[in-house]
Symmetry: C2
Subunit: 164 residues, 2 copies
Amino acid sequence: MEESILERFNAFVKRRSLRRTSQRDSIVRSIFAKDEHFTAEELFDRIHRTDSRASRATVYRTISLLVEAGLLREIDLGSEEKTYDPNFLDKPSHNHLVCVDCGKVVEFEDAHIDLLNDCITRRLGYRPIRQSIHIEAGCEQLRLKGMCPNLLATRLSGKRIKKR
Amino acid sequence: MEESILERFNAFVKRRSLRRTSQRDSIVRSIFAKDEHFTAEELFDRIHRTDSRASRATVYRTISLLVEAGLLREIDLGSEEKTYDPNFLDKPSHNHLVCVDCGKVVEFEDAHIDLLNDCITRRLGYRPIRQSIHIEAGCEQLRLKGMCPNLLATRLSGKRIKKR
DNA sequence: CTGATTGCAAATGCTTTGCACGCCA
DNA sequence: TGGCGTGCAAAGCATTTGCAATCAG
């Protein structure tokens, strides 16, 4: 799975007369080893926690290349930093729900929504290209039972949820 | 119309034991005199082109206050800087379509979309709070007739359309 | 070989903040 | 009068860029 993405990236690199390097390979592998969203800084940390090595600048530059290649997408989760989503190859038209209580991000696809958005776009006189839905919602569990497992997990992991 | 918003802001200011100042008044008036989206920097320029005076810091600080007061909303139009939308008081649940050709932003509301999003949110086990749809689309006119009036207007006005 | 790539540090650009002075209540 | 508010410049931060050394093809 990851290998095929690496191959696609290398094909892109060749097509553009760029060069394959160990840093680029490491970065691409690191990104697609998980299905998690990440910021540039988080990716830089993740890479440094393994044997691989790549400078901050190279991480930023490779992310840009991946976005240009269409293998990675920048998404808006409401955080200050740019966030990237490696899951658009599997789910080309998914959307995001962010829990305001625990910060958990849920990905979802919905054909009805896609169709409706397409209709709206055409009715406005435009040609649909891309659409994304950002839902902010609260834990139903937290409201009903007074607690939410993700909230707990989030606190324990010390993950910060920055709000704009 | 703008006056009533100013009144609401001043009520908010009083409720929080803050103070009414000429700078805050000017900034609020300037924002709600138009229905245009803006960045902090654009607002700062706009204010300085009139008789009013307010420092950059005060502009930023007042924008934050307005967002806290629920009178202004931060939106994501894909630009690098934070963009603000003064139209949520009139249209509490509108969305944005951005034309990739000319950068024009079209606001639209749709009850079907809102309902569908609510259903999706509940089906995922969450309590709906807020949802926003971001549509990127192309000028149908440009494709069919080879030109788009907004594209021309945009170029003449020298407005820059930054892409992320 | 030759030009692309990397790493470093410096530069950017938007936004926030510390501080002294001024002004609203 | 007591603070809150303002303006200025400095600080912060994520991201980008210039440049010399290095490396891929």
